[in-house]
Symmetry: C2
Subunit: 345 residues, 2 copies
C-alpha cells in the first residue's frame, strides 16, 4: 500500500517523522511518499496545496498529515485567503472527498488528573465525535465581503446529511449504540433539514441505534458538565469544529488526540493539535497524537486492526513510562518514540 | 418607572414572583405591569408574542423576563416556526432593539466546589460575555428549507458590528480593560468583516483597551482549560449562543446566572436557565438568577447602582446561608427569597 505523508508546518515534520518510524515498524510493506502542504508549500511552490501533492493523492491508500499553519502573527495570515495555509488544508479535505471527521475523545485510565474537569467527571469518558467536513458554511460558494457588509451561507442537502449520518450510525453499532445529533433546529432551517434527515435515516436503516437530538448550545454545556452521557455525537461542519475542539480538552492534552477523516477516497489521518511554532525544531513536541493517528490509519485506512491495536497499546505504555513535557514528564520526541517502538516488540 | 414583567412558561412565573418581591422591596416606587409571552401566550392569545405585550413595551423603562418554552417533547415544538415559544423570545429581542446580550460569569468565592472544573481553575473566574443579539444567522431573511436542501445566511454589516463592539469596549473600561473578540476569520468572510471592524473601532475610540482576536474553536477550548485568561469576550450571535452557555457551566449552576440585553430601547433582564418544566409548580426552583437579574435591571435599566449592590450582596449571603437544592442545600423558592429579603434589611 502507498501512504502519502504531508508533514506540513511547525512541529508537523517532527511528529510525522515519529509517526512514520512507528508505521514502518508495524507495516514494513508500505511505501511512503512525502509531499508539501500549508505555509511551507506556499513558500516552496507558491500555493498551499500544490499540484504535485494533489497528483500524489490519486493512487494513495491513505494520507498521514502533520500540522499546518504559522504563528498568530505569521505573514501567511495576511495572504489572500486562497493562499493561506488553512486553504491548503480545506482543499486537501475536498480533494480527498473526506466528508466525515472522526475524533475519539477518550480519557486514558490513570491520566484523569490531566483533565481540567474534576476527576470524577473525566473518568471513563469515551466519546466519538463525527463532524461533517465538506459542507455547510465552510465550502458554500455563496459568500462575500464587500464594503461594509459580508455574509456566508450555511447550506446542506439531504445526501450530504445522510452520508455523514450513516458513518455515525455505523460507528455507533461498533460502540454503545447511541447517537446524539446536534443542531440548532429551534432557530435554523438548515438544522431542521439536518434533524429530519438524520432521524429518517435512523428509522429506515438503523432501528437498533438509539438516536436523540440536542441543541448545540445545550451540548456545549453538557459535554463539560456531564460528558459521560455521550457515546457518538454527529453534527455539521461549524458546530463540529467548535464541539470537537471543546471535547478535546477533556483528556487534558491535545497531544493525545488523533483524528481520521473518511469519505469516498483515501482517508486522512492527523493529530488535532496545531503546529506549535514556538516549540518547533526543538525536538520536544509530543508525537503521541501523530502516532495514534497511525493507529487510526491502520484501522480505518488499511483495515489492519491487529496492527492498530498494537500501536494503541504501545502508546498507552509509553505514556505511563515516559510522559512528555506537556504531560508533566520529561521525555523528548525521540525518547517517547523509542519507548513506543520498544513497547511494540 | 414602569417595569414590564413577562413570567413566561415553566418555572418562569415562580422565579419572577420572587424577583418581583425583591424589586418591590428595593424600589418601592416602580410600577409593575405583567404580560404574556411564550407557550402560555400562544395558548391564551394564539401567538407567542401577543400585540398587548408588544404595546406594553412602548413606555416601559425595563423588562423583566422569566423563562420561555416547554418540555423537550412539548407539542409547542411542533407548531409552525413563528408560533413556537422561541419565536416569541426572538420577536421580543427584536422589538426592544436589544443588540447586546451581557452575561457575567462569576464564580462566587466559597462556591468553587460547584464547578465541573477543578477548583484551582474555577477560582476567581470573572468573565463578561457580550453577545450580538439581533443579527447574524438568527434573523437574516435569506433562509429556506425546500425539498432536500436548506440554508441560512450569516450576515453582518459594519454598523451592527460596531454598536455591539462599542458596548464591549465600554464595559471593559469599567473592568480590567481587556477585550477578546471571537470569530472564525480563517474560514468566513463575515468574520473577516467582524474582525476588521472591531479592530478599527478599538483603534479609533478605545486606545486604552487591550484587544485581541481568537478563533471560536480555540476559545471553546481555552474557556474550559484556562478561563482565568478572559476579561470581556465579544462575539456574534451564534458563536455567542454557544460560548455563553458553555461559560455558564463554570460557576456550577445555571441557577446563578443572570443576563441583561441592552440596546436602543428598554433593557431586557432574565435568568439564563431554562423553563425546567419537570420541577415547575413545585415551589422548589432556585430564584437566585432571576433575583440577580433584578440587580442587573437596577444597575443598567434604572441606573440605581446602590440598590443593585444591595441585591447582589443579599443574594450572596442567602446563597451561603440557605442554598437551594440545585446547590446541594434544602431551601425552597420561598425560603431563599425570604432570606434575600431579610439580608437586605
Ligand atoms: C484550520 C481550520 C480551517 C480548521 C477548521 O476549522 O476546520 C481547524 O480548526 C480544524 O478543526 O481542523
Ligand atoms: C431559545 C433560543 C432561541 C435562544 C437563542 O439561541 O438565542 C436561547 O438559546 C438563548 O441563548 O437565549
Amino acid at each position: 500500500p502507498k501512504i502519502v505523508t504531508l508533514p506540513g508546518d511547525g512541529i508537523g515534520p517532527e511528529v510525522t517523522a515519529a509517526a512514520v518510524a512507528v508505521l514502518r515498524e508495524v507495516a514494513p510493506d508500505v511505501t511512503i511518499e512525502e509531499h508539501a502542504i500549508g505555509g511551507g508549500a506556499y513558500e516552496a511552490h507558491g500555493e498551499p496545496f500544490p499540484a504535485a501533492t494533489r497528483d500524489a493523492l490519486k493512487d494513495a491508500d491513505a494520507v498521514l498529515l502533520g500540522t499546518v499553519g504559522g504563528a498568530h502573527d505569521s505573514p501567511w495570515n495576511k495572504l489572500p485567503r486562497p493562499l493561506r495555509p488553512e486553504s491548503g488544508l480545506l482543499s486537501l479535505r475536498k480533494a480527498l472527498g473526506c466528508y466525515a471527521n472522526l475524533r475519539p475523545v477518550r480519557v486514558q485510565p490513570g491520566l484523569e488528573h490531566l483533565s481540567p474537569l474534576k476527576p470524577e467527571l473525566a473518568r471513563g469518558v469515551d466519546i466519538l465525535i463525527v463532524r461533517e467536513l465538506l459542507g455547510g458554511i465552510y465550502f458554500d460558494g455563496d459568500r462575500k465581503i464587500e464594503g461594509d457588509t459580508a455574509y456566508n451561507t450555511m447550506r446542506y442537502t439531504t445526501p450530504e446529511v445522510e452520508r455523514v449520518a450513516d458513518m455515525a450510525f455505523w460507528a455507533a453499532e461498533q460502540r454503545k449504540g447511541r447517537v446524539t445529533s446536534v443542531d440548532k433546529a429551534n432557530v435554523l432551517e438548515v438544522s431542521e433539514l439536518w434533524r429530519r434527515d438524520v432521524q429518517a435515516l435512523r428509522d429506515r436503516k438503523y432501528r437498533g441505534v438509539h438516536l436523540n437530538h440536542e441543541y448545540v448550545d445545550s451540548v456545549a454545556m453538557l459535554i463539560v458538565s456531564d460528558p459521560g452521557r455521550y457515546d457518538v455525537i454527529v453534527t455539521e461542519n461549524l458546530f463540529g469544529d467548535i464541539l470537537s475542539d471543546l471535547a478535546a480538552v477533556i483528556p487534558g492534552s491535545l497531544g493525545l488526540m488523533p483524528s481520521a477523516s473518511l469519505g469516498d477516497g483515501p482517508g486522512l489521518f492527523e493529530p488535532i493539535h496545531g503546529s506549535a511554532p514556538d516549540i518547533a525544531g526543538k525536538g520536544i513536541a509530543n508525537p503521541a497524537a501523530a502516532i495514534m493517528s497511525v493507529g487510526m490509519l491502520l484501522r480505518h485506512g488499511l483495515s489492519r486492526s491487529d496492527a492498530a491495536n498494537a500501536v494503541d497499546r504501545a502508546v498507552a505504555l509509553a505514556l505511563r513510562a515516559h510522559p512528555t513535557r506537556d504531560l508533566g514528564g520529561t521525555a523528548d520526541t525521540q525518547t517517547f518514540t523509542r519507548a513506543v517502538l520498544d513497547a511494540m516488540e
